[in-house]
């Protein structure tokens, strides 16, 4: 066996089928998977993706361009199948998401069945919202796949990438809601007694949030203007 380090150039990828190390100019991309020349599946579409990397050795983490449009995906069908818990995501090839959707649906139904008083109504209201969310999510994902755009594994409706920016509203909201409902369920705190305050507190919270958002946007515009002037 010859030593691998004979070649001064580093391999850019490995063939999915045979495991052979591939130089950057030998890499064949087929639907986002790397193959060597021999194991390249006979593509129905002409080889148009993967433009030759001019200096592949300089960029070993070369990202292949997005897949070509897949015309076999129908957003309409995705919507119809999305009404069945999990099936819309499975139609889009996102099996983990389908499983999670089915799981959440099951938890919602079980909570609506066994909930106590006020929470039961809450979950009964949530079920149709959740089912239509799944349908629209599947529709959006299918549309993106049809256009050949990147599909987010988490959700195609809510962006998942805005980490690290601004105040963590969603996590803190989740924690607060979780703690309040937990205390209510353990009967250390009565939501029923707090009900009269819910409306005003909600309005104040939304108002403060909007105010902060406006102020932040204002500050940013001011900064940009300052940049342009200086």
């Amino acid at each position: 066996m010859e030593p691998v380090n004979d070649n001064p150039r580093q391999p850019a990828a490995f063939c999915r089928a045979c495991g052979k190390a591939l130089m950057p100019d030998e890499v064949q991309n087929y639907q986002g998977t790397v193959y060597c020349l021999e194991h390249m599946p006979q593509a129905s579409a002409p080889q148009q993706q993967a433009p030759p990397v001019s200096d592949g050795a300089a960029n070993p983490y070369y990202q292949p361009p997005p897949m070509p449009p897949q015309s076999s995906t129908s957003p309409g069908w995705a919507f119809v199948l999305g009404l069945i818990p999990g099936v819309g995501a499975i139609y889009n090839g996102q099996y983990a998401k389908g499983f999670v959707h089915a799981l959440i649906t099951g938890v919602l139904f079980s909570l609506a069945d066994h909930g106590s008083g006020s929470t039961q109504t809450l979950f009964e209201m949530c079920i149709p919202v959740w089912i239509f969310y799944m349908a629209f999510e599947a529709y959006n994902t299918a549309k993106r796949r049809m256009m050949g755009e990147h599909v987010d594994e988490f959700s195609s409706i809510f962006p998942n990438s805005n980490l690290n920016t601004g105040f963590p509203v969603l996590p803190i909201l989740l924690i607060v809601v979780g703690v309040v409902f937990l205390l209510d369920n353990l009967q250390w705190l009565s939501l029923r007694a707090l009900k009269p305050y819910a409306g005003p507190v909600l309005m104040i919270a939304v108002g403060v949030f909007l105010l902060l958002a406006r102020l932040k946007a204002n500050a940013r515009i001011g900064q940009e203007a300052h940049h342009e002037r200086s």
Partner: protein
């Protein structure tokens, strides 16, 4: 080798699913043997999700 998958953000994202499954499993176990039913303990899921999101942020801003 290359350190693509060792970044804390992707690590947090990778453990998200397993931790959720473990939490759900624990809650169902408590439902069966413990004093609390699942209809009582489900908000713990929300708390876990929120804490994981916060940790994701913390690790991504630290790096």
């Amino acid at each position: 080798m290359n350190g693509v998958n060792v970044q804390p953000v992707s690590l947090m994202r990778a453990v998200r699913g397993p931790i959720l499954l473990i939490t759900i499993g624990t809650l169902f176990a408590i439902d069966h043997v413990g004093p609390y039913s699942f209809s009582t303990t489900w908000p713990a899921l929300l708390i876990v999700i929120g804490v994981m999101k916060l940790m994701e942020r913390a690790t991504s801003s630290a790096s």
